[in-house]
Symmetry: C2
Subunit: 190 residues, 2 copies
């Protein structure tokens, strides 16, 4: 299997690496072009501007996440699958903070590719929640709303932990994963 990566794919790969190393400001089109072996403005032939390139990076990562989620939940009981997926959500955020902040950052460009990837990621999560409700691991109710509750908690716990606003005194000892478990436990006993 020969990997024939197009220039466009290489630009996205290189930009991904630069992002994780030093955040969006480290993704200069000059360095992207240089690492991809093209000129510093060749990216403009594939992307409208820098933000459009970053949107492609975020979309690619969302698709990769979706594959991970599917693999993680495959063949497991719904309650356990959901728990693993939420913990993976948090772990990914803590290990790849720049990518996390990019994906859930503010976009002034409405990238169709990114919107599509985000929609598919959410759909998968909703179906997982629905399965957990059917199996009795989660209480009944609108699955969209239950999903939003769970994702909001996992997301907020990760984001606050990343910014150091989550009880760093060590007293509460509230790791983001612990909060996920707290919520799941309370929901299970309702």
């Amino acid at each position: 299997m020969v990997a024939t990566t197009s220039t466009r794919e290489r630009l996205v790969e290189v930009a991904t690496g630069l992002l994780e190393e030093g955040g969006p400001s480290a993704v200069t089109l000059r360095e992207v072009g240089h690492r991809a072996g093209v000129s510093h403005n060749a990216p403009y032939k594939h992307f409208a501007d820098k933000e459009d390139l970053l949107a492609a990076v975020a979309a690619a990562q969302l698709r990769a996440n979706r594959a991970t989620v599917q693999h993680l939940s495959d063949g497991r009981p719904p309650g356990e699958a959901l728990r693993l997926v939420l913990h993976a959500y948090v772990s990914r955020a803590m290990e790849h903070p720049e990518m996390f902040r990019l994906i859930y950052g503010r976009w002034r460009t409405d990238s169709a590719e990114l919107g599509q990837a985000a929609h598919e990621a959410r759909s998968l999560l909703v179906s997982l929640v629905q399965a957990a409700q059917d199996s009795g691991d989660l209480p009944p109710g609108d699955p969209d709303r239950m999903t939003a509750l769970l994702q909001a908690l996992a997301h907020g716990a990760a984001d606050l932990a990343l910014s150091g606003h989550l009880a760093k005194d060590g007293k509460g000892h509230a790791e983001p994963g612990d909060l996920v478990d707290d919520l799941l436990a309370r929901l299970a006993t309702t």
Copy 2:
């Protein structure tokens, strides 16, 4: 009462305005200086660099938020006070997205002023939660951890809503404030 605003205070005010209008990239030291009536590099006499100025902006806002929280909760039953404060947290985020993202963004500078303001904001929230536990509006347990759970949910709901990752199909109709109420309701019946 004559308002004798120092240059430093004026720089922070001007930077705050620019931030809310167009985000951190709109806060150019040149424009800050110009609006404050000084040269484009006068800010360097008051702040180490641009990030240090933004840290002062964030710290000032955290202190203002703290005052709002105290005023909101003053004289109300703990359960209601907590609910109002969490809703205010969400509303503030939705109405001032750039400020919200700044405060809970990533800092490479460890500003003592910002760290102090963040710590005090968290302490106030913990004491509110503790009062709600004492009055029976919230279940018992480590107040630091209960606070983290509540803040993580409010924070995540607001952040996901801002980035459009919260069920925008309209089916679940999950506004951030609704999620706050969902969690409070579930905690009340535990």
